[in-house]
Symmetry: C2
Subunit: 192 residues, 2 copies
């Protein structure tokens, strides 16, 4: 009977990030990642199509949560209030494990153009998910595009504040992301 | 419209885009691109380090123009007025050749994840160039981040309008990009 290994996916991400940091992204093979995580190569491929996708782990989940949060915001919520609801929902996907791993993930990304490209496309995907959810609420396209860019920027800035700060809970991330969105809204008054 | 006469560099871009569209990005080699363009492989490598960078052609130029336009805007220009100056300057890098090639470039990008990633990172680079130039003018970081996102979005939306429209000049692109920026500024009033 095949043994189901809870946490194999997370162990693969941790192992990969450590190896990327120790020896670089290009020099790291799927076999090495699997070995470090204590799983077989086929287990790796059950979770990820390749080593690059591994760092995009969670993108689909994040996109869905952003989208659901926006869809379920009260009918009279403004576009940015709906985006804030999306950010709060998305934050629930992140906890102490992500907080602990984040500096190593960011170091691995900073050191690899290929990972930067993957990461940039991930941001585009999350922004698009928010824009679609806003349009489905009846927000005009240009306002939806703008509000979702603000949402993406707020999540990025809030995430950076979260990993630089003391708290490591989902609630603390939600607080940082919504504070960043408020700050961006305030700044929009001084664009001229 | 004046007839566009491409040089070796532009011929390589045209040949590559056509081959990417005909047979896919992965199946296309540097040798095939050079042959189609009627130049040697060494000519290819004098212009581009590899086939992927070929579609990023002009990114450095665009970033520099955006940055110069922002830096040279009048001292009393608002952040968005400075961004508009950057967009106008950047538009000068584009003309009938780019306009003619754009639909094929976009089709090639739409068909390849690798090219989408490269393109997404290119956008991040252009936004960063604008943000830096705004910060150098004394614009606070959060306002600079927001204004440069609006600039990136305006360039993208203006470019899409340009390639869907009749005019193919730099001036027409500048008009479309600045109109898109105005539209985004107006939309920012309805973010809530």
């Amino acid at each position: 009977m095949a043994r189901w290994e809870p946490g194999a996916r997370d162990r693969l991400v941790v192992a990969a990030v450590d190896l990327f940091t120790e020896q670089g992204y290009d020099a790291t093979t799927v076999a090495q990642i699997a070995e470090r995580a204590g799983v077989t190569k086929s287990t790796f491929f059950r979770h990820f199509p390749d080593k690059r996708e591994l760092l995009a782990a969670g993108q689909e989940t994040l996109g869905r949560l952003l989208s659901d949060g926006i869809a379920e915001a009260p009918g009279n919520a403004t576009p940015l209030e709906a985006v804030a609801a999306g950010l709060r929902r998305a934050a629930t996907a992140m906890g102490p494990g992500n907080r602990e791993l984040a500096p190593r993930v960011q170091a691995a990304i900073a050191a690899s153009t290929e990972l930067q490209e993957r990461d940039a496309l991930k941001s585009v995907g999350l922004t698009a998910a928010m824009a679609e959810a806003l349009i489905a609420r009846g927000v005009p396209g240009v306002t939806a595009a703008l509000a979702s860019e603000l949402g993406g920027l707020a999540f990025k800035r809030g995430f950076a504040e979260w990993i630089a700060g003391q708290g490591d809970t989902s609630d603390e991330l939600a607080r940082c992301a919504v504070a960043a969105l408020d700050e961006l809204r305030a700044a929009s008054a001084s664009l001229g």
